[in-house]
């Protein structure tokens, strides 16, 4: 037991390395520069992929970073955290032609690293239009909304309950994909556009909805989801039972060696967060790290490439096991599940990590004046403008879609800023949302 610091560092090193200039140029030259390209259409933020790639090929990195970051201010983290196999790279025509899609994510990282290294965004805020937006939450949705609103000339104040920028980007994505340092550096870039940040300022604690609506013409809500859902079985309060987000956040923010991990780790759930937990437990030094999931392999909510990653880390998977109880004398000793045949199965374990999805932030959202939510607690918004049933409140990201990718949250934040502009909020004739289409969430682990 106990890996050396070097072993742990190697285990958490980036899986996908940065490109050299030569690599990037060569790869950029492979791009066909498709007309109305499928990769761009597949990106929720519609980054003009062929345009930014062509600019890498011509040595115009400033222009390339601008194309990416204007469309997606979190382009650096998306380059690392996006499930590109399902999005741009999955849509690349070269996947069909040469059987090798263009490495769009790595190229995007190459260009956005240029901006990160210079600590500035390659575009400026718009001329002041004398209206203001209050952004609640400094995660990907909020930061994106803040950046876009500044570009449109709004004055922006971001209210973040924690002392940390970036939301789940900073605290919940495995280090081997995206480090907290990168996520924080990227979030800092938004400050450069002149948005004001109020950290440690929670709605309902330091500030009220009424105060926000009084101070700002429009309010954007990008508060994400709440804590991990509870299993609801006996023994859940034993020592050694932990929720996945807490475990992952400790890994992100503390020195890795200070984070406790069990020797036999049982992760309940099979979404992408469960994968992050099971692989990171193994990489941190667990002897055995396994997933128990109530449905079958075909129903697992995680992406296939995440599943493959965990299998390569020698993590184990047990299907069709529903949690019944957790046993132990003060500490976890066994996790008991019920199989499809109704018989109970017990696993020796000293750490149970619960990863069955996050609950909506019902208290906070419930107090938002005039904001309707659906039966699952998700904020209901107009699909285009992201306007809620309160015309001056807009929303996006996980609190609307129930839990999707960083890139979806970024797309929502940008759309909301444009929606606030388009609906004339803060002008003499503000409009209510009119389109009948309503956002619906997708697959959620």
């Amino acid at each position: 037991m106990g890996l050396t610091a070097e072993q742990i560092a190697a285990n958490f090193a980036e899986v996908v390395p940065a490109m050299t200039e030569a690599e990037a140029r060569a790869e950029a030259n492979r791009c066909l520069y498709c007309y109305d390209a499928p990769c761009t259409r597949a990106c929720p933020t519609h980054i003009d992929v062929p345009a930014f790639i062509k600019k890498i090929a011509t040595g115009n990195l400033r222009g390339s970073a601008r194309v990416i970051l204007e469309a997606n201010v979190m382009g650096g983290s998306c380059a690392r955290a996006c499930p590109v196999e399902e999005l741009c790279e999955g849509a690349c025509v070269e996947a069909m032609h040469e059987k090798r899609p263009i490495q769009i994510a790595r190229l995007q990282r190459h260009a956005t690293d240029w901006a990160l290294a210079r600590k500035e965004l390659p575009f400026r805020a718009g001329a002041d239009i004398g209206r203001s937006v209050g952004v609640v939450g400094a995660g990907p949705a909020g930061l994106s909304c803040a950046a876009e609103a500044r570009r449109l000339g709004f004055r922006v104040t971001v209210y973040e309950a924690r002392e940390l920028l970036g939301g789940l980007n900073t605290t919940a994505i495995a280090d081997y994909k995206l480090t907290a340092a990168t996520a924080l550096a990227e979030a800092e870039l938004v400050k450069g556009l002149g948005a004001e940040f109020r950290l440690g300022c929670a709605v309902g604690r330091e500030v009220t909805w009424d105060e926000l609506l009084q101070k700002h013409d429009a309010v954007f809500v990008g508060v994400g989801l709440g804590g991990t859902r509870r299993l609801g079985v006996p023994g859940e309060n034993l020592k050694g039972v932990m929720d996945a987000l807490t475990f992952i956040e400790e890994l992100k923010l503390k020195p890795k060696r200070d984070v406790w991990v069990g020797r036999r780790v049982c992760v309940v759930g099979a979404g992408n967060t469960a994968i992050d937990a099971v692989t990171q437990a193994k990489r941190l030094g667990a002897d055995v790290s396994f997933i128990a999931y109530r449905r079958g392999e075909a129903e697992k909510p995680c992406y296939d490439f995440e599943y493959d990653l965990a299998k390569k880390d020698a993590c184990l998977f047990y299907w069709h096991l529903a949690p019944v109880r957790i046993e132990g004398d003060g500490r976890v000793e066994r996790a008991v599940f019920k199989g499809a045949d109704g018989r109970e199965v017990a696993f020796e374990t000293d750490m149970v990590i619960v990863a069955i999805g996050q609950a909506p932030r019902s208290d906070l959202l419930g107090s938002a004046p005039g904001v309707k939510r659906d039966e699952k607690g998700r904020v209901v918004v107009d699909a285009v403008t992201k306007q809620t049933s309160n015309p001056r409140i807009f929303a996006g990201g996980d609190c609307v879609n129930g839990g999707k990718e960083v890139v979806n949250a970024v797309a929502d934040g940008k759309a909301a800023a444009r929606g606030i502009e388009k609906m004339g909020i803060g002008t003499e004739k503000p409009r209510r949302h009119e389109s009948t289409e309503v956002s619906r969430s997708g697959k959620n682990g």
């Binding site: 030259n29 066909l32 520069y33 498709c34 109305d36 499928p38 025509v93």
Partner: protein
């Protein structure tokens, strides 16, 4: 196995692949190594009065990551002494009696100077001479190289002087930096040339360094126009070779030069009238070893096509190079897109829409975006096929017009055209 041996103006060579007069033929050691690697012949780096070269001799154009699509040089003729060159030529020829060894010459425009060098060079036992009337930089400022090739009278006169004393075949190497290559070609013929080599390099400025603002190749921040060669110049060379080959007055064997890198390039030059081909840039890029696939590939292709001898393909495609006015105006073909192969990059669509004749539309009915040819609007220009990245996806299918062939000449005399695509019809 096809017979690759070649006879050009009485010079025999084990194969048609020669090194052009250039840096790769600067020394006896290089030429010997080239022959050992498989090259059939070599034209020695141009001999003449001593010169001095500048530092920075070459510049290149890369294309989308591919290096040296075009190369230029501001290098002059040999900077080694005549005695050393002659000794090495004699030595190489003695060691490689069956290979073709031609010596390139350039001296001032005096009859005695030419007589003198021809005699001294032929004493080495070389197989022939090549008169460098082509070099477009440096030497031309001193009345040599392309300064001769650009004035048919000079070219004719100097060729005549050389022929007065030469005992071996005389090749005249032409500059492409003229308005019509046929006139210097005819001058060479009139002067008594036994063969023509072309093309020499094309006048060029390679580019400007965007950091220093100095043109390149930079000689301490300044540059001068130089001779351009490499894959980029091949189509220009093919045109000039075929123009010389088709001219009824010239009728001389041709040694083709200009962007030849592979056996395919070589075969094309030969089909358009070259008996041998000369290579420089590809060797400067990859070394002598490239000749291995040139020999192998040409041999396999000749076998596949049923040609027994390389010499048999010389000029085979020349009858098909005609004046525009002799083309059949009633021949029609239209683009056909193979849906099964289409990857929906839609480059054909935007190329046709923005860049050509608006004859491809996007079919979005199935939720996909498939390019579809509008047959009646397609003028058969080929652009879609040229931009398509997928081999065999877009082909040009002949469209039966049922009409007899009509040339421009016929048309201007009243012959009828078959119905054809027209922009204004849709």
């Amino acid at each position: 196995m096809a017979d690759l041996r070649i006879d050009i103006a009485g010079v025999k060579s084990p194969n048609p692949f020669w090194l052009a007069s250039a840096p790769p033929t600067n020394t006896g050691d290089q030429v010997a190594r080239a022959f050992d690697t498989g090259w059939g012949g070599a034209v020695w780096k141009t001999l003449g009065e001593p010169i001095v070269n500048v530092y920075s001799r070459y510049g290149a154009v890369d294309l989308n990551g591919v290096k040296m699509m075009g190369l230029n040089n501001i290098e002059l003729i040999t900077d080694r002494t005549l005695d050393v060159n002659l000794r090495e030529i004699r030595d190489v020829k003695r060691r490689y009696p069956k290979h073709a060894l031609i010596v390139s010459l350039m001296v001032e425009s005096k009859r005695e100077a030419w007589h003198d060098i021809v005699k001294r060079v032929e004493d080495t036992g070389c197989d022939g001479l090549e008169l460098n009337f082509g070099c477009p930089h440096g030497m031309s400022e001193r009345g040599m190289g392309s300064a001769v090739g650009q004035v048919p009278e000079y070219a004719c006169q100097i060729t005549g002087w050389v022929k007065e004393v030469a005992r071996t075949p005389v090749f005249v190497k032409l500059t492409p930096n003229v308005s019509d290559i046929v006139f210097p070609g005819r001058a060479a013929k009139k002067g008594g040339a036994d063969a023509i080599s072309l093309i020499n390099t094309i006048n060029s400025v390679m580019g400007v360094d965007l950091d220093t603002l100095a043109p390149n190749p930079s000689v301490g921040g300044k540059s001068s126009h130089g001779g351009y060669c490499g894959p980029a110049v091949k189509p220009i060379a093919l045109h000039m070779v075929s123009a010389i080959a088709k001219d009824p007055e010239i009728q001389l064997p041709i040694s083709g030069i200009g962007g030849i890198s592979t056996w395919r390039d070589a075969a094309e030059f030969m089909l358009l009238g070259a008996t041998t081909v000369q290579v420089c840039t590809a060797v400067m890029h990859h070394g002598f070893r490239i000749v291995e696939d040139m020999i192998d590939g040409l041999s396999n292709w000749l076998d596949d096509k049923g040609f027994a001898r390389a010499q048999d393909i010389v000029g085979r495609s020349l009858p098909r190079v005609v004046k525009w006015e002799e083309l059949n105006l009633n021949y029609q073909h239209v683009a056909t897109i193979d849906r099964a192969k289409c990857i929906e990059c839609d480059l054909c669509y935007i190329a046709c829409w923005d860049g050509a004749h608006q004859a491809i539309r996007l079919d979005t009915t199935s939720g996909m975006r498939r390019p579809v040819v509008i047959d009646e609007a397609c003028v058969g220009c080929n652009l879609c096929k040229l931009v398509c990245p997928v081999e065999g996806c877009i082909s040009m299918s002949p469209r039966e017009t049922g009409a007899p062939g009509v040339t421009w000449k016929d048309y201007t005399k009243g012959a009828k055209l078959a119905p054809r695509a027209h922009h204004d019809n849709h």
